[in-house]
Symmetry: C2
Subunit: 333 residues, 2 copies
């Protein structure tokens, strides 16, 4: 597959460097080891929030580094966890003495490397807490995961935890609210086509021209089943029903509805899926009081989307609305 890249081995370094140059008001880059921090790191007295994982999911994580969200984003090689080294270096760069929370997507490699990094950082006297995001309801255990995969819900966890840190919560308090978001968020995705990892050069799986995969992972891991192509409304129903059933969200509750593009799907299609999911939630008596639609946690150029529902309470809503100033989410500074 044709790609706008130079050497496959340089994709991540060049891309993150370009990102940092385009957003120099907001972020600062360390090229080796590779990580991105807020331009004003470390922020005195504030708990620092760090997230990361394999590259290929842009704008996550670097697009969410900035005031009110992440203090650092640590991008690994494409679809591969960053090693402990850049995680520890980023931890050092953002800790102000108030401690650092790691927001980790639930993949075995990430869990391992972030654990090692936490131990190393603690040996240097930095307090570290970890919260694991595992919002994908599609399958239990997967190609790279024990338990459920962490996917688009990470954006919501990062925004809300980041706002809690910004208002002055302690490390323990930030971890508690992050854990609460994890507890109340669920996601399921669908793929219409596979992505191509640059150094592999061929699709990570094959789908027929009349086929889609319900429950896809963001690295192309198998979902629940393959089905013949169906309408956007039917796709939305499959995804939303699985999410709602698992979340057990019910009449009278409030929600944030998030339709995330996987990279290669036009925004117009995401809005069609959103419209259907929104109508179905409202039919079920769920009040959708916040929304997000767009490409936030992608899988390179994969075509498809995911639906995420977060059960909101007053505090989570307030933290979602709090000011944020990152490359991809920016409001009310």
């Amino acid at each position: 597959m044709k790609k706008l890249i130079n050497a496959a081995a340089d994709v991540v370094a060049e891309s993150v460097a370009g990102f940092a140059a385009a957003n120099e008001r907001i972020v600062r880059i360390s090229a080796d080891p590779l990580f991105v921090t807020r331009a004003d790191s470390p922020v005195a007295g504030k708990v620092a929030v760090l997230s990361g994982g394999g590259s290929g999911h842009e704008p996550m994580p670097v697009g969410f580094v900035g005031y009110g969200m992440l203090d650092a984003g640590v991008p690994g090689p494409v679809f591969t966890s960053p090693s402990p080294d850049p995680i520890v270096a980023a931890t050092r760069a953002i800790d102000s003495g108030a401690g650092v929370i790691y927001l980790i997507l639930n993949y075995t490699g990430d869990i391992l490397n972030f654990e090692i990094a936490a131990e190393l950082a603690e040996m240097e006297g930095i307090e570290v807490a970890s919260v694991v995001v595992n919002d994908d309801v599609a399958v239990e255990d997967s190609t790279f995961t024990a338990g459920r995969r962490g996917v688009a819900g990470t954006v919501l966890v990062s925004k809300i935890a980041g706002a809690a840190a910004e208002r002055g919560d302690t490390l323990e308090e930030v971890a508690l609210i992050a854990q609460r978001v994890v507890h109340h968020v669920r996601t399921m995705g669908v793929a219409l086509s596979a992505s191509v990892v640059p150094h592999v050069g061929k699709p990570s799986f094959e789908l027929d021209e009349n086929e889609l995969e319900i429950g896809i992972g963001i690295h192309g891991e198998p979902g629940r089943y393959r089905a013949a192509m169906m309408s956007a409304d039917q796709v939305a129903d499959h995804l939303l029903d699985a999410v709602v059933q698992d979340l057990k969200i019910a009449t009278g509750e409030r929600a944030l509805l998030f339709v995330n593009g996987l990279g290669g799907t036009p925004e117009s299609e995401l809005h069609i899926v959103y419209g259907r999911a929104r109508a179905r939630l409202e039919e079920a008596g769920v009040e959708v009081i916040r929304s997000l639609v767009g490409n936030f946690v992608t899988s390179l150029e994969m075509r498809g989307c995911s639906i995420t529902v977060l059960r909101l309470d007053d505090e989570m809503t307030e933290l979602w609305d709090a000011p944020v100033d990152t490359a991809r989410l920016r409001w009310e500074m």
Copy 2:
């Protein structure tokens, strides 16, 4: 090609309805005739800014409706100009008595329909001014265009004209600054793959697996030439050189550099292109003081991107930085 749609005939209506539902804080929708306005339209005493054109370029135009940018977005059928009827209805809905400016992309159908709409609106006593955006340096005259095509530069024209209207400029003054942006902005694009119009169902053109089209239009119109696949740096050089040569931007001048994704290209690739274009501009002594990278003017799921350079002066920079509150651009409210 598989798409997340229902009936092809309903794509635009369903998508815009979903968009409006997801952004109800910011916009209001008229379903028939179809257009989107600011939720607080008309804004007393303010010149109103209207843009529109064929659908398939999302988030343009509806994603730019809101405080500090567009008062109305009028989306036509996919890749087809809206008829005068919704343009006039939207004009009526947003005019506060201070007049309405149309920001029109230079396609023959759009020019004609916006002209008719302006005449009809003026017969109702609404003052209308029009500015035509024609930033694509690739070719003179094209499939649907006399002169140069209007492409990604429209976002910059809309942002700056919208900020001028917001600060209280008269209709004539808003038209002058919009015209000044048009005078100083240039774009050129590249396609790695074609998009598929939903009711057509097949790619609008064919490219070999080892081929790209330099100078592509946002409806798949032919560019300058087809070339064998090349590196991201080489692509960036081809596009940037054409833009710089036409704009005649020189050492000591300041610029906004905008890398726009055409819909199906991962953000990581856009940042690689940005990094190269930025370095080349700086080598040429041009100071890049503002940047924008992402999917803003798309061509459905086309893979590829465009590079836009806007020569900035103090006033344009100030208007670019002014508060904006739309679905896609939102800062400093």
